[in-house]
Amino acid sequence: MNMTVQIRTAEIQDMVENAILAPSASIVSAKNVNVYYAGKQALKNISLDVAKNRVTSFIGPSGCGKTTFLKCINRMNDLIDICRVEGNIEVDGQDIYSPEVDVVALRAHVGMVFQKPNPFPKSIFENVAYGMRIHGLTNNKSELADRVELSLRKAALWDEVKDRLEQPGTGLSGGQQQRLCIARAIAVEPRIVLMDEPASALDPIATAKIEELIGDLSTNYTIIIVTHSMQQAARVSQFTAFFHMGELVEYGNTKTTFTSPNDERTQNYITGKIG
């Protein structure tokens, strides 16, 4: 009796997992992407589809091009004069490098949390409210305040800042600033959230909260997260891409990647031999 129940649970778990991993519609689709910084190639022929409403993690040694690829997806690379992007990237079926694309709208729907926390030198409240304001998401003052609170709660920052919302965001600690940037990014309700090492400066409790947030968000949002922590990648993501020296070495569902990688370099990296 007990036995069968347990087997049943395991079966259900497998079924759920398979459902999650079943080929869902892809929302980001990159084909043969090459990126050069002043002639120096940073990404080599990357082709990858990111599943909709799932969490995908990018791992790989420092300098392998994770940030570079992330910034291709919301065209943040446009800001770097020496950066040149080749190939084709589609978001929601639209080639984002085609001339008729509105980059501002793209970035409003593809939010980003940067590797280095970069709060505005404005108040904590204004940091979160700014995006909603410029997009006209709400005109109502109390609604705005509610949404700021909600975003800060989701980013696990509310309790620490609720009494000093008018103080500058730059006065927070590094980890608090990073969570403020997360709150700022999710406040405008982007469809895709790009997170570049969002937990690198956080303590275990805040990290757990952010991971919880990522789990919650992934029901409605697509999340791509860059991380240097294998455990984190294993915990939060359904898919993992391993980059190495500008190449996409391995890409597949997280469990397989970590348990039985196809490539030797992936094996070496996750066991700590390169990195």
């Binding site: 943040m76 970069n118 700014y130 410029i134």
Partner: protein, 419 residues
């Protein structure tokens, strides 16, 4: 115990000595610089301080009915009354030449101030009053001790006789120095004791107002456009090189430009603060643009990334985030440029703002001069008494410079306090 690694080794001692040497060199350099500054400001202040005091002399003035018709007090010959009163004070003077020398003790302005006194106090007509008048520049210099008596008994342009008269006034306590309000409330004059800075100061204020209103917005918007909207384009590079060159063009060239364009082509009024302001605006523009671009460039790129990352447009990013952070730097640049414009003489000479202006200009189209030009004019005057006026005007100019820099500092610190 003896050789602990926290003790000084010979190597670290050497390093320490080098550090101390460097610190001392820095201190000495600063002391020398401050010494020069104190010497310069001190000597100007010592020379100019005298101009804040003006010698006045008093004598009895007979406001008899014979001379002044109470019905028309303004029609009387006050010059004659002054002269008669002076003769009365020194009854033993009969020689014509000596009389003329006696009259020279008082400023030519005495008759005007007497007229004002009588017109405002008609009740005094028919009485005799002891009244104070501004002394002439020569008496002023001598009484304040700026010139000493030479072996012939002369003091500057005063001869021995005149020195003796001044002594008589002194003995009777009819001569004293008072605070020179006239220096701040009067326009220029051929007579040093009457000359003031108000007309040139007003001219400077009007001119700088025009300069600021034109150069500041144009400069800032050019900088924003060049830096944020066409960075790294070929046109941007060409413009950048030209602006840098323009900042180094001697100011008199801008004066010639103003002369040919604003005066000859557009026919704007000569000597007017409007044209002066336009010329100085042209001169100040490159400075403001260069400083503003530097200020914009110093804003961290991560702020731009953050704003663009939440979906702000380029314009929103620039005006909501970058410009507020760059504004203190821009203002500093503008104030530095304005301070340079404040002290500028050469271009103003070219457009005729070098005229002898007695009246305070009442509009940006009225003929005017500027404070530095006034200093130049006074420094050029033969009368010795203009020397201290020149120094005093320089002090006023320096005070305004310091004030402008103070404003820049306050603006900057205010801005910093906010975040």
């Amino acid at each position: 115990m003896t050789n602990s690694f926290v003790m000084r080794s010979s190597k670290s001692r050497k390093r320490h000595a080098a550090e101390m040497r460097f610190q001392w060199m820095g201190r000495i350099a600063i002391i020398i610089a401050i010494g020069f500054l104190v010497f310069m400001v001190g000597s100007i202040a010592m020379m100019g301080a005298g101009a804040l005091k003006q010698t006045h002399i008093a004598f009895d003035v007979d406001l008899s009915h014979n001379e002044i018709d109470p019905a028309f007090p303004e029609k009387a010959d006050y010059d004659a009354i002054i002269k008669a009163s002076l003769r009365k004070a020194f009854p033993d003077i009969t020689d014509r030449r000596e009389k003329r020398e006696l009259y020279r003790l008082v400023s030519a302005e005495a008759s005007f101030s007497l007229k004002n006194f009588v017109v405002n106090n008609p009740a005094h007509i028919g009485q005799t009053h002891k009244l104070w008048f501004i002394a002439s520049d020569d008496v002023d210099l001598f009484f304040k001790g700026n010139i000493t008596i030479d072996e012939k008994g002369n003091a500057g342009r005063l001869n021995a006789q005149e020195v003796a008269w001044v002594r008589i006034f002194e003995r009777n306590q009819n001569i004293e120095t008072r605070f020179n309000t006239r220096f701040f409330t009067a326009g220029d004059s051929r007579e040093p004791e009457l000359a003031g800075i108000l007309s040139s100061l007003t001219g400077t204020a009007f001119t700088l107002l025009i300069t600021f209103l034109i150069a500041f917005p144009i400069g800032i918007f050019s900088a924003i456009f060049l830096e944020e909207f066409i960075p790294q384009s070929r046109w941007g590079d060409i413009i950048e090189v030209n602006i840098t060159n323009l900042a180094a063009v001697p100011s008199i060239v801008f004066g010639i430009l103003g002369l040919t364009i604003f005066l000859n082509t557009f026919g704007m009024p000569r000597s007017s603060p409007l044209v002066g302001g336009l010329v100085l605006a042209l001169m100040t523009l490159p400075t403001i643009i260069i400083a503003s671009r530097a200020a914009l460039r110093s804003v961290s790129p991560s702020i731009r990334e953050a704003a663009l990352g939440v979906g702000a447009t380029q314009i929103q990013t620039v005006f909501h985030h970058v410009v507020p952070l760059a504004l203190p730097g821009m203002l500093t640049g503008a104030i530095v440029g304005m301070a340079r414009a404040l002290g500028e003489t050469a271009p103003l000479l070219m457009i005729g703002m070098v005229a002898f202006i007695v009246d305070v200009p009442n509009s940006i189209l009225a003929p005017a001069t500027a404070l530095p030009v006034q200093i130049f004019l006074w420094a050029d005057s033969p009368e010795r008494a203009f020397l201290e006026k020149t120094s005093a005007a320089i002090i006023v100019l320096l005070v305004f410079l310091v004030l402008m820099n103070l404003i820049a500092i306050i603006l900057r610190s205010k801005h910093r306090q906010r975040f």
